[in-house]
C-alpha cells in the first residue's frame, strides 16, 4: 500500500505509524481503556467536589485555581524540560497530570477515610488525631499516584526507557494531585475567603511547594521506570528492589511531612515571626528528601548523557552522526543554541529540520543501544534517515556556515 503513495505521503505514513506508539491513544491496549474508565468515573465525583467548593466560596474557588495555575505552569515546564534528550509525548504527560488531579485525588479521598477508621479503631481518637495523616496518606496516596506512572508504562511501553522518564511522569501525577488537594485546603480548611486563600497559598505553596507531591511521586516514578526499563541490564531482584526502595523513600518522606515529628510550624499566624517560621519549618521537614531527589535526578541525567555518548560513539564515521554533531547533541545548552543560530541564519524551517535531525540522532542512539549488529536493517535505515535530513538541511540557503566547512556544520559545541 505504502509503495503506491507519493514520497511525501509515504514519509508521513511512516512517521504517523511511529508517532502512534508515542501517544496516549493506544486503542488496542487494555491499559488505555482502563485509564479512560477510571478517569471518567472518578472525574464525575471530582467535578461534583469542585462544584461544592465553588458553592461554598465562588470567589475563593476562582482565586485558588488562579493562584495554583500560576504555580503549576512553571513547575510543569521545569519538570518537562528536565528530560534533556528525549522530551516525553505531551499527550502522555497531560494524561499523567489528569490521573493525579482526577483519579488519584478521588480514590485517595476514599481510601484515606477508610484507613483512617482503622487508625481510629486501633489507636483511639487522640492518637488518631495526631497520627492518621502520617499513617494513612503517605502509602495510600503514593500508591495511587504512582499507579498513573505504571499505567503510562503499560499504555506506551516503549516510551519509558530511562529513570528520567519515570521522574517526569511521576512528578506530573504529583503536580495534578497537589493542585486539586490545594484547592480543597484553600477553600475547605483556610476558609475560602480572599485572605484565607492567600494564607493557604503562602503556607502550602510559597513555603512548602518544593517538598510535596511533585517530589514524592517523581521519586517513586523513577523506581517504576528503573524496574521496567532495565530489563536485561539488571536482575529482576535488583530492579524490583530499586523500585520498592524508591517507593519506600517517597512514602517515608511523605510520612515525615505529615507526622507530628520535627513539627516547628506555628499554631497560628499572629505575628511576623510566625510567617517567617513557616518556610523554616517546611525546610526542616522537606529539605532532606528534596536533597535526595535532586541528587537522584542529577545522577539520572548524568547517566542519560553517558548512555547517549556510549551509544553514539560507535556511530561516529557512519552517515548517522559526526563528531561535531555528537558534541552538540550531548550538551543541551549547545543544542538549543545551535537551533537558535540556525533560525537566525536560515529561518524557521531550517531550525525545525535541525531539531528533527537531533531527534532522529537520539532515536539512532536508542536503536544502537539495543546492541544490534552494525548492519542491522533498522540501524542502517536510521543512519540513512539522519543523512537525508542533514543533506536536506545543508541544501537550505544559509544553513551551512561557509567559513567553517570542516567544523560543526550547523552550530558549535
Amino acid at each position: 500500500m505504502a509503495a503506491s503513495l507519493p514520497p511525501q505521503d509515504r514519509f508521513r505514513t511512516a512517521e504517523r505509524r511511529r508517532d502512534l506508539r508515542a501517544t496516549l491513544f493506544q486503542f488496542d491496549q487494555p491499559a488505555f481503556w482502563f485509564y479512560v474508565v477510571i478517569v471518567v468515573v472518578t472525574g464525575w465525583y471530582a467535578i461534583s467536589r469542585q462544584n461544592v467548593f465553588h458553592h461554598i466560596s465562588p470567589s475563593g474557588w476562582v482565586l485558588s485555581w488562579g493562584l495554583l495555575i500560576v504555580y503549576a505552569l512553571p513547575v510543569f515546564l521545569a519538570v518537562y524540560l528536565l528530560d534533556l534528550y528525549e522530551r516525553e509525548p505531551m499527550s502522555l504527560v497531560v494524561a499523567s497530570v489528569v490521573w493525579g488531579a482526577v483519579a488519584a485525588t478521588t480514590l485517595a479521598g476514599l481510601a484515606d477515610q477508610g484507613w483512617g477508621l482503622v487508625v481510629a479503631r486501633l489507636g483511639g481518637p487522640e492518637f488518631a488525631s495526631r497520627w492518621t495523616a502520617a499513617l494513612t496518606a503517605p502509602w495510600v496516596e503514593e500508591a495511587l499516584k504512582v499507579a498513573g506512572v505504571v499505567l503510562v508504562c503499560l499504555i506506551a511501553p516503549n516510551r519509558v526507557d530511562d529513570m528520567m522518564d519515570g521522574f517526569v511522569y511521576g512528578s506530573m501525577c504529583g503536580l495534578g494531585f497537589a493542585v486539586v488537594e490545594d484547592v480543597f485546603y484553600f477553600v475547605g480548611v483556610f476558609g475560602g475567603t480572599t485572605s484565607g486563600v492567600l494564607e493557604g497559598f503562602y503556607v502550602r505553596v510559597v513555603s512548602s511547594g518544593l517538598y510535596g507531591h511533585v517530589m514524592f511521586t517523581g521519586l517513586a516514578g523513577m523506581g517504576v521506570a528503573y524496574c521496567l526499563s532495565r530489563n536485561g541490564q539488571a536482575s529482576l531482584r535488583r530492579r524490583v528492589g530499586v523500585a520498592v526502595g524508591l517507593f519506600a523513600a517517597a512514602v517515608v518522606g511523605h510520612f515525615l511531612w505529615n507526622s507530628p515529628w520535627l513539627d516547628l510550624f506555628p499554631s497560628g499566624l499572629s505575628s511576623v515571626g510566625d510567617w517567617l517560621l513557616i518556610p523554616l519549618a517546611a525546610a526542616v521537614k522537606g529539605l532532606p528528601l528534596a536533597a535526595f531527589v535532586i541528587i537522584a535526578v542529577w545522577l539520572a541525567r548524568r547517566r542519560e548523557r553517558r548512555w547517549l555518548h556510549a551509544a553514539l560513539s560507535s556511530e561516529l564515521g557512519t552517515p548517522g552522526i559526526s563528531a561535531s554533531e555528537l558534541g552538540v547533541l550531548l550538551d543541551p545548552v549547545a543544542r538549543r543554541r545551535s537551533v537558535r543560530q540556525m533560525r537566525t541564519r536560515a529561518g524557521d524551517r531550517a531550525a525545525s529540520l535541525l531539531k528533527r535531525l537531533q531527534r532522529e540522532q537520539v532515536n539512532l542512539a536508542m536503536i544502537r543501544a539495543r546492541s544490534v549488529p552494525d548492519h542491522d536493517p533498522e540501524l542502517v535505515r536510521q543512519r540513512k534517515q539522519c543523512k537525508s535530513i542533514r543533506d536536506a538541511l545543508m541544501a537550505m540557503p544559509g544553513a551551512a556556515p561557509a567559513a567553517r566547512p570542516t567544523a560543526a556544520p550547523y552550530g558549535s559545541a
Partner: protein, 206 residues
C-alpha cells in the same frame, strides 16, 4: 529535485521515504489484559481495604445496655459505660476522649421537637458558648424508624477546650423520645463519629 523547493512546501517532502519502522509492540492480548486486571485488584484493595479492616475491628462486645426501657445499645469494642443518668434515664459510653450519651424519656411530639428540647434543656443551660446548626438532616435506622440529626460546637462548664457534638433524635411509636449525643473535644469528633453512628444504627429503639 532541488531540496530547497521541496523544503519550501514541506520540510519533510524532499526527503527519501524511510522504510517502514519495526513492527509496533503488540503483546498477546491475554498478557496485555493481565497488568490492568492486577492494577484493578490493587486499587480496590487500597481504596476499600480500610473499610473492610475497620469493619472487622468494630466488633460488638459485652451485653447490650438497656436505657429507659426503650433503647438497647450494643457498645463496639473499646467503648464502655462511663456513667449512668437518672433524670432523664440515660447512659454515657466512652472511648478515650469520645463520648456517646444516650437518653430516653416520654415525649409528645416529633423527632425535631426532641432534638430542640435536648438543645434547650440540656445543652444551653450548661453552655458558656454554644453554636447549633440551623437546620436538621433526616436519618433513618435499619429498623425503619426516622429521626433527625444536628450538630453543635460549644464550651461547657469549666472546660477550657471547645466541644463538638452530633445529636441524633427519634420518637418511638410508643411515645418515647430518644436522644443520642456523640461528642468530643473540637477536632476529634471525626475520629469517633463512625463508631457512634454504627452504634446508633444498630441500636434497638422502640
Amino acid at each position: 529535485m532541488d531540496s530547497r523547493s521541496a523544503l519550501g512546501s514541506d520540510a519533510s517532502g524532499g526527503l527519501p521515504p524511510p522504510v517502514a519502522g519495526p513492527p509496533m509492540d503488540r503483546r498477546p492480548r491475554s498478557s496485555a489484559i493481565l497488568p490492568p486486571l492486577l492494577m484493578t485488584v490493587a486499587i480496590l484493595v487500597v481504596v476499600s481495604g480500610g473499610y473492610v479492616a475497620a469493619g472487622a475491628l468494630s466488633e460488638r462486645v459485652g451485653p447490650p445496655v438497656m436505657i429507659g426501657g426503650a433503647v438497647r445499645v450494643s457498645p463496639l469494642s473499646g467503648w464502655q459505660v462511663a456513667r449512668r443518668f437518672t433524670d432523664p434515664p440515660g447512659v454515657r459510653f466512652t472511648r478515650g476522649v469520645g463520648n456517646l450519651d444516650v437518653l430516653a424519656a416520654s415525649f409528645a411530639g416529633d423527632a425535631s421537637g426532641v432534638a430542640r428540647r435536648y438543645v434547650d434543656r440540656s445543652l444551653k443551660p450548661n453552655a458558656v458558648r454554644l453554636s447549633v446548626s440551623p437546620s436538621t438532616v433526616p436519618v433513618r435506622l435499619g429498623s425503619g424508624l426516622e429521626g433527625v440529626r444536628l450538630h453543635y460546637v460549644g464550651s461547657f462548664g469549666g472546660e477550657q477546650a471547645s466541644v463538638e457534638g452530633e445529636v441524633t433524635a427519634f420518637v418511638t411509636p410508643s411515645g418515647i423520645g430518644v436522644v443520642f449525643d456523640a461528642w468530643a473535644p473540637q477536632g476529634l469528633l471525626q475520629y469517633v463519629v463512625d463508631d457512634t453512628r454504627a452504634m446508633i444504627e444498630d441500636a434497638a429503639v422502640g
